[in-house]
Structures are given as C-alpha cells and as structure tokens.
C-alpha cells in the first residue's frame, strides 16, 4: 500500500495477564508506525522488526485514541493505547535504547491521534547520542563485568546498563558516528590505486583465489564496487558495533581493543600503519 509514514519509533507490545492487572512485556522487537493510508485514514500499525510483518493495523478516528503512560509499571516506559469509543486497550513499551526521546515521540503521537493533520515537531537531536557514543568507546576497552565502580551516578548506571545490553546484541546501539561503508567507497579507493600503483598488485593475494581470470587493476576496481564486497564491509561494520570482535581482529595483528567498535578499529589500524614502512605519498 502506498501510504505515508507520519512518525515511527521502536516499541514492543505487552499483554494483560489473564484475570490480573499485570501487563507482561512481549520481548519481540517492534515499531509503532503511524501512517496515512491510501484510504486517507489514519493507521496505527505495530510492525514486528524481526519478520517485518505488520501484525497490528488499527484504523483510528481523530480524537478517539490516546497513548498514555502507565505509571504503575516499573521502568516508566509502558504505555496503553486507549479509546473513548470502546473498551479496547493495547499495551506497548518503548524499545529505543535511550529514553531521551520517549516524551517527544509520545507527545507527537498524541498530537496526531488528536488531529491527523497536525505536523509533529522534532527537536534537533544529537546531544544525548554523542554522549552515549563516547562512553561506548571508553567502556568497551574495560571488562564486560557488571560491577560498577563505587560512586557511580544513576545516569552512569543507566548508560552502563544499555551498553551491556547492546554488547549482547539485545537492543540496537545508540546512533553510530560513522560507518566503514562510507570510507571504503570507490570515491576514496580509486584515487588511492591511481596514486599508488604498487599497492594494486600487493592486494592480489587478498582477492578470491578462484577468479575466472587472473586479477588486474580492473578486477580490483570491479571487486570494491561489487555488492558482495560492499556487503562484507557492511557486515564488518555491524559486527564491530557489537564490540565483540576482539578475538577476530587479533588475527589481523591488531590488539583486542580494536574489536570493540568502528572508531577503535580505525585507530588501531592507523597505529599499525604508522609502525610499518611509510609509503611514498605525492
């Protein structure tokens, strides 16, 4: 369906335990997506982020629904979608690793539920996330134990908690600052090949051994532009963000610390390059 997304944020579902007032969080990763459908109606969709299926699709009439925090649930990130026209209740919980935008998402959601023609207002972001990133590269090099040094503030504890969660791959990390896929591009690499012709043949041993024709500079150019190579770079990028590649990078002659994130990986490579023979530059 060609519908327009008005806003979206990560959220899971929760279900009332039969006969009680308890609501159990379902662990499935999901997103709440507010869309204006082709039918011109407002759709409140819950999408399962693992299967990509839209498992709930509610049509909402302006002013009928509201998204309200449930204060009794610990953690403070549980909400209920309720209706003035019926007793329907749908429960959700925020899944973004950071709470920084919870209020903003909910406020805008309610704005649009009230009047679908309202335009959501977003703060320029970044402050919260870059803080998170800095602590990622610092904490990554220390051990993964759960013990926090004494005197840790609640904010630091929350950061460490979300860091441990992201290291075990349960929730997505805070905003990454850069991606390897933006570094290993033809735009960056082709000039390098032109200015360092000896480099090209020195790379041949790293190419697949079963190419149908012997490698050449053109082969190398084709390879770095290929979806398979780009996919491998993307995979490495994602894997580095989990911080778990300490063992793998040792095989490249890098210290374990290099496997804890993209920035750490690049720093270690810069050092490794500095230790080796300097290549002639133009």
């Amino acid at each position: 369906m060609a519908s327009a997304t008005i806003l979206a944020f990560k959220a899971g579902r929760a279900f009332r335990r039969e006969g009680t007032n308890f609501v159990d969080h379902s662990p499935e990763k999901g997103a709440i997506i507010l869309q204006k459908g082709e039918d011109e109606l407002l759709h409140f969709v819950w999408k399962n982020r693992s299967t990509n299926d839209a498992e709930e699709d509610l049509i909402l009439f302006p002013g009928d629904a509201s998204f309200v925090k449930i204060p009794q649930v610990t953690g403070g990130r549980s909400y209920v979608l309720k209706f003035s026209s019926s007793n329907q209740r749908h429960f959700f919980w925020m899944q973004d690793a950071s709470t920084a935008r919870d209020d903003e998402f909910v406020k805008n959601l309610n704005l649009v539920l009230e009047d679908p023609d309202r335009i959501p207002v977003w703060q320029a972001g970044g402050a919260g996330s870059s803080q998170g990133q800095a602590s990622t590269s610092q904490a990554g090099s220390s051990s993964q134990s759960a013990a926090a040094p004494s005197g840790t503030t609640p904010e630091q504890l929350a950061q460490i908690r979300s860091l441990v969660q992201s290291m075990s791959g349960n929730t997505a990390q805070n905003e990454p600052e850069l991606s390897l896929t933006d570094i290993l591009t033809p735009e960056t690499l082709l000039p390098l090949f032109r200015s360092h012709p000896d480099l090209v043949s020195s790379l041949f041993p790293h190419l697949p051994p079963d190419l149908p024709t012997p490698p050449s500079q053109e082969t190398l150019q084709q390879i770095i532009s290929s979806p398979q190579f780009r996919g491998a770079v993307r995979n490495l990028d994602q894997a580095l963000r989990t911080g778990l590649l300490g063992g793998l990078v040792r095989g490249l002659g890098l210290p374990e610390e290099a496997g804890t994130g993209v920035e750490a990986f690049l720093r270690a490579i810069q050092e490794q390059a500095g230790r080796g023979d300097r290549m002639e530059t133009d």
Binding site: M1, A2, T5, I6, L7, A8, F9, K10, A31, R49, T51, N52, D53, A54, F105, N108, W122, A124, G169, A172, P176, E177, L178, S179, L180, T181, D182, I183, L184, T188, L189, L192, H196, S202, L203, H206, L207, P208, D210, L211, P212, T213, I224, Q228, F229, A232, N235, L236, Q238, A239, L244, L252, L266, I269, Q270, Q272, A273, G276, M279, T281
Partner: protein, 325 residues
C-alpha cells in the same frame, strides 16, 4: 526452528547462485533471469522446465487460490512438494520443489537418494528431511560468505533484505502447478494444451494474475526460468555447420554470437560466485592500512562522520532510526 539454529546461511537469489547450486547437485540445467513473459522471449529459452517467481517481501495476508480462475489446492498431489521449514533455506527449497517434479531428471547420486527417501512423505516431513540434509545444506551454504564473518548468532536485527519469497510454476501430470513452500499444499491451476506454447501459456496467466494483485510499483519481484543449459547444443550445432563447410553462414554467425553471450554470462557468474564465497576481511584490512599509510584515512573518516550526521538528520525528519542501512 530459527535461522540461527538451523545452520542454513542466507544466500542471494541470483541466477548465478542457483546455477552453481544445480551444478553441485549434478543437474545440467541453468537458471536465467526472465525480463519478459512474452511468447518470443520465452520461445528463445526453451526447453523451460519451471518458472520461478521471486519477490522481496513476505506476504502479510494469505493469498488463497482464486476459484474463479480455476485454481485450487490439491491435497492429493502425488508428486514432490516440500514445505518451507527454515526461512534461510527458501531458495534451495524452491529449487527442490522444481527438480522433484521433473520426470527423468539427470542428477547426481545424493539428490537421487534424497528424492527416493522422501517418496510418499507429507509436505511438512519432506521439508524437515530436506532441511536436515547435511550435504544439501553445505551445497547451499557454499555460496554465502564464510562463517568467520557471518552475523548469524550475534542477535542483530534482521533487515528487510532477508525476507524473500519464492513460488515455482511448472507442469506436472498434465496440469500447471504452483508450489509455494509457505502453503500447506500445491495449487493446481488446471490442464494445459500440448500444442503451441504448451504449459507456458497457462503458467503465464497464473503469474500475471498474481502480479496484478499487487499495486503497481509497490513490490520488487523477479522471474527466473529453470531451463536446459544451451551451451552444449549451441556448440554441437556450430560444429556441425563448420564440418559441413558452412562455418561462415548467417546461422553460424548467430550461433557464435549466442555462444559468446552465454560464455560471458558464465564468466560473470563465476566472478560473482568467487566473491560470494570469499572472506573479504583480509582485503578490507589491507585497504584500510593502505589508506592510513597514504595519509588518507583521517580525511576519509571525517567525511564519513559528516555523511552519517546528514543521514541521521534526514531520518529524524520522520522520527525513526531503525538501522535500516
């Protein structure tokens, strides 16, 4: 069973990947992209054994066969039909459903044994047997990156790229059938006439009807044809002509062009498959070290940071950052 537990890697669904799989099964067929369903295009590719319709999204609602078109489930289908048990195996499962219904299929011993072993089984059991077949899984996995850099098991969210769906259309027992591993039974579309295009005409109707159920431009899909490998017959016809002193004929010239096209295509497939099987970590590392030695890593890093900032800012306009890159 989850994709992680199953040990089946996600593979690309490229004609080159399928053809390599067929080779490892000992089947002398190839799979080609189909850009058109018109009679002339298809006639050029005959003999075609099956059409594979492939689309990039899982259907969110069940699409039941439309009785008005004469299509209905065939729970008593005596041929080969296996249900999909593991998502990552979907490409190989589709190939199996096609190969399993080709009479007198030329193939290697292991595949022959697998087909004999699963005779008479119900669709779900067959699906499980196929999924548990170690040699088949290894043949399938041979065309994905080596595990050292695989992301299975790291618990990362799957991107939408992973959701493929395959449907096979082919003749069996005088009717055109539709094999969809996510359904409980094969769908029979009805009998076809042997003359003219044969089963292809009926299959075309079914495929076009399916395409028509989706709003235009909203889905990415492709069509593949499972067909005889044309190279042997092109080569032998060319040899005949040359031996009869007609090597400079128009027909010979055309054969040479077609052979040349086929060979380029195989070379491209071999190149892409070599890249698919390869662990690129060494190359990636060597490139980054070279950039660093040339003093170009820092500027590239700064440019990459700026690009990411722009990207994040654009995503925030819709209020979401779902790691969909």
């Amino acid at each position: 069973m989850s994709d992680e537990e199953s040990g089946w890697h996600l593979t690309e669904s490229d004609p080159g990947v399928f053809t390599e799989l067929l080779k490892s099964l000992g089947v002398p067929y190839i799979v080609d992209d189909l850009y058109s369903l018109d009679p002339d295009s298809l006639a050029a590719l005959q003999p075609i054994h099956a059409l594979v319709f492939l689309f990039k999204w899982l259907p969110t609602s069940g699409s039941e066969p439309d009785p008005a078109s004469g299509a209905h489930f065939d729970p008593d289908f005596p041929g080969f039909f296996a249900q999909q048990v593991v998502n990552n195996a979907c490409a190989t499962l589709a190939v199996m459903n096609a190969l399993g219904n080709i009479p007198s299929l030329p193939c290697g011993q292991p595949l022959q044994e697998l087909f004999s072993f699963t005779t008479g089984m119900d669709a779900q059991t067959r699906g499980m047997v196929i999924t548990s077949s170690d040699w088949l899984r290894e043949a399938h996995n041979a065309l994905s990156p080596p595990s050292a850099i695989s992301l299975d098991g790291l618990g990362l969210p799957k991107t939408s790229e992973d959701a493929y769906h395959f449907i096979v259309y082919m003749p069996a027992m005088g009717c055109v059938y539709e094999f969809d591993g996510l359904k409980s039974h094969p769908i029979r579309h009805g009998a076809y006439e042997e003359k003219g295009e044969g089963w292809i005409a009926k299959a075309r109707e079914a495929v076009e009807a399916r395409i028509a159920t989706y709003p235009p431009g909203s889905l990415e899909f492709s069509l593949l044809a499972l067909r005889d490998d044309p190279i042997p017959s092109l080569q032998s016809r060319l040899k005949e002509l040359q031996e009869a002193g007609r090597g400079n004929d128009a027909e010979a010239a055309e054969l040479i062009v077609r052979l040349s096209n086929e060979n380029s295509k195989r070379e491209r497939w071999a190149f892409e498959n070599a890249l698919r099987r390869h662990n690129h970590l060494g190359l990636i590392h060597a490139l980054l070290v070279a950039l660093a030695k040339a003093g170009s890593l820092e500027p590239a890093r700064d440019a990459a940071r700026r690009k990411m900032e722009e990207r994040v800012a654009r995503r925030k306009e819709v209020g979401m950052d779902l790691d969909e890159e």
